[in-house]
Amino acid sequence: MYLNSGIAGLDELLHGGFLPNSNILIKGFPGTGKTTLGIEFVYQGITRYNEPGIIITFEQFPHQLYRDAANYGWELQELEKQGLLRVVCTSPEVLLDRTSNLLDDLVREIGAQRLVLDSLTQLGMVTGDQGDQRRLIYGICSGFKRMGLTTMLLQEANSAPEQMSFTEFLVDTVIHLHFIESQGSRKRYIEITKSRGQDFDTGKFAFKFDTNGIRMLRIAHPQVLPHYFSRFNWQQKLSSGVPGLDEILPGGFLPGSTVLVEGDSGTGKSILGMQYLLQGFYEGDKGLILTTEYDADLLHRYISTFSSPDLAKALLRKDIEVFDNFFSYVNVEEVMVKLVEKAEAGSIKRVVIDSVNSFAELAESNLVLKGHLRNFFRSLNLMGCTTLVILGEDAEALRSQLQGIIRPLVQGQIKLSSTLEKGKRKWLVEITKMKGGEFAPGIHRAEIGNHGLQVFRRLGRK
């Protein structure tokens, strides 16, 4: 029913793809990625769906287009040689010349099904009258449809919004590309504002250009994929790696769950995360840790203080993958997508996020962050990952906001704390939530020493 765009993540926003034989308007300021999106639409159509295509440009010479496309590994000339693509560098007047039948001939010649027109803005300039422009563009859109094409029409957004504003009424789908400054960096977003005859996700969604083209950075509402179920044993609990904690949480953590670990500095949160990963190493589970406070080297040094060279082995053998370049990303969604991809590709079973506080720094708002985190945690859960999410010390207001966001999203909650008593540090552990699993309630003693974190079950009744 749908025509797949082939652009990673875009079809999901459209709940499947474009309606075949439709006109899609791509609107954005210069540099937002309209041309790249258009070229990729045609390129993916040819290479993935065997749908020949045409690129019409009034603005660039073919060699510029070839060079730009080659950056993404799209060898357009090769496709032209194979008769699957035509790149037409022309003027609006030639295209509109009724005597030439240029377009009809091309469509027939290669059996084109997709077309990108770059740009509608140039096309409209053939006449200054808005009424004529409207008739012209209506005519060309109808023409594309008649020829059975699914077309992307690129239009420059400009500071005079009334100029050619009618185009949005004439097409079936309208996609806006934005390049917005946010917290000191610019982020790209895609937004669908109209799509006749089909449902679509509303809102701005981040995307980026990577080596293969456009990529949506959306941590989508996860799908339950059958192979997830075969990959993991959903009955088998995961040992925490902390002596005593498995006694309080009989057997350890439930597979496919997210557990929030909260506490001030020096209460053992990171050590708990490291012991959890090391236990995975001993049991043959692969681990993934996102570190925002320290890098892989420092992690190695921390962990060696209580675990001998085992971690070095684990790191060398890549049994524990470290993601320590968090702050090189500008989109929190991108980090989440990256982690989910890593977890999926590496058959990761144990994930540690140390710490989730940094996520708030990259998110536009708490509401947005909550939505992302919900999908992020759920994606990991569905893949069978058991995730420890560490929430560290922060400005009180910020911390309580984060608690409010995260607590409802997780299945388990462990609170770590410490006090000074008679000049001695006293560490405490409390489990305050563990959905679907029993736990020993109350405050238990803990200790941080040469062997890492140890928990001692509270005396007294169960």
Binding site: P243, G244, K424, K426, H444, R445, E447, Q454, F456, R457, R458, L459, G460, R461
Partner: protein
């Protein structure tokens, strides 16, 4: 038929007709210097003679001193230690020396975790656990903590069928706490001095033997430098 254990002191074992089931808990209570550790040494010797594994928690002196005491009463501990049949937990020293160490003022939860770990580590179908003296570990702790500790620990040890002997020095634990704690034990043996102040005589009596028949009469005893506690037969019947 299940194996039963004895103390290894015939004069007392005779008073407990059927011996002690594994999982029983014995409290040895008495003044300092009355002979509790000697009794404990004989209990260990008896255990090792009957193929039991013994875990000895040293709270009042380092394990080296306890080894000397055992040697004194004819038991050479090292070969047993090498075979994992005798294990010491050092809850006395200021710095860790042996394999199992517990700083005496650390939380009791931690002690329990260590004790459990040692129990799970040692081999042997029948295990004897001796805490000499447990009361030292409880100094400075509040009553509720002591009671919770006792209750929870003894339940755990009973569940694992460990034959447990706890030595409690008189008047270290506050009276009410001591009374409540003693209810938790299956066997209570009290050691004390009797006779005139000029010529004190050592005596003991079995104060309790839960679900078993026992003779609660006072028994006089002496400490022989080679054998240990020797109960003096009641020649007058």
């Amino acid at each position: 038929m299940h194996k039963v254990g004895f103390l290894g002191i015939s004069g007392i074992d005779n008073t407990m007709n059927e011996g002690l089931a594994y999982g029983s808990q014995i409290m040895i209570n008495g003044d300092s210097g009355i002979g509790k550790s000697v009794l404990a040494a004989q209990f260990v010797k008896e255990g090792l003679d009957c193929q039991d594994t013994c875990i000895y928690v040293c709270c009042d002196e380092p394990p080296a001193a306890t080894r000397d005491t055992l040697r004194h009463y004819g038991l050479h501990p090292v070969p047993y230690e090498e075979r994992g049949r005798l294990v010491f937990i050092d809850a006395y020293s200021l710095e860790p020396e042996g394999k199992y160490y517990f700083p005496a003022d650390d939380p009791l939860e931690k002690f329990l975790a260590l004790e459990s770990r040692v129990i799970n580590t040692v081999n042997g179908e029948h295990i004897r656990l001796i805490a000499d003296s447990l009361s030292t570990l409880l100094i400075g702790r509040d009553s509720q903590e002591i009671l919770d500790f006792h209750r929870y620990r003894l339940k755990l040890r009973k569940k694992c069928r460990i034959l447990t002997m706890d030595l409690i020095v008189d008047e270290v634990i506050e009276d009410t706490t001591f009374q409540v704690s003693s209810h938790l034990y299956d066997v209570i043996i009290k050691l004390y001095y009797t006779g005139s102040p000029d010529r004190p005589v050592r005596a003991l009596h079995v104060g309790k033997l839960r679900s078993g028949k026992f003779d609660s009469s006072q028994l006089f005893y002496t400490i022989d430098s080679n054998i240990g506690i020797v109960v003096i037969p009641n020649l007058w019947g």
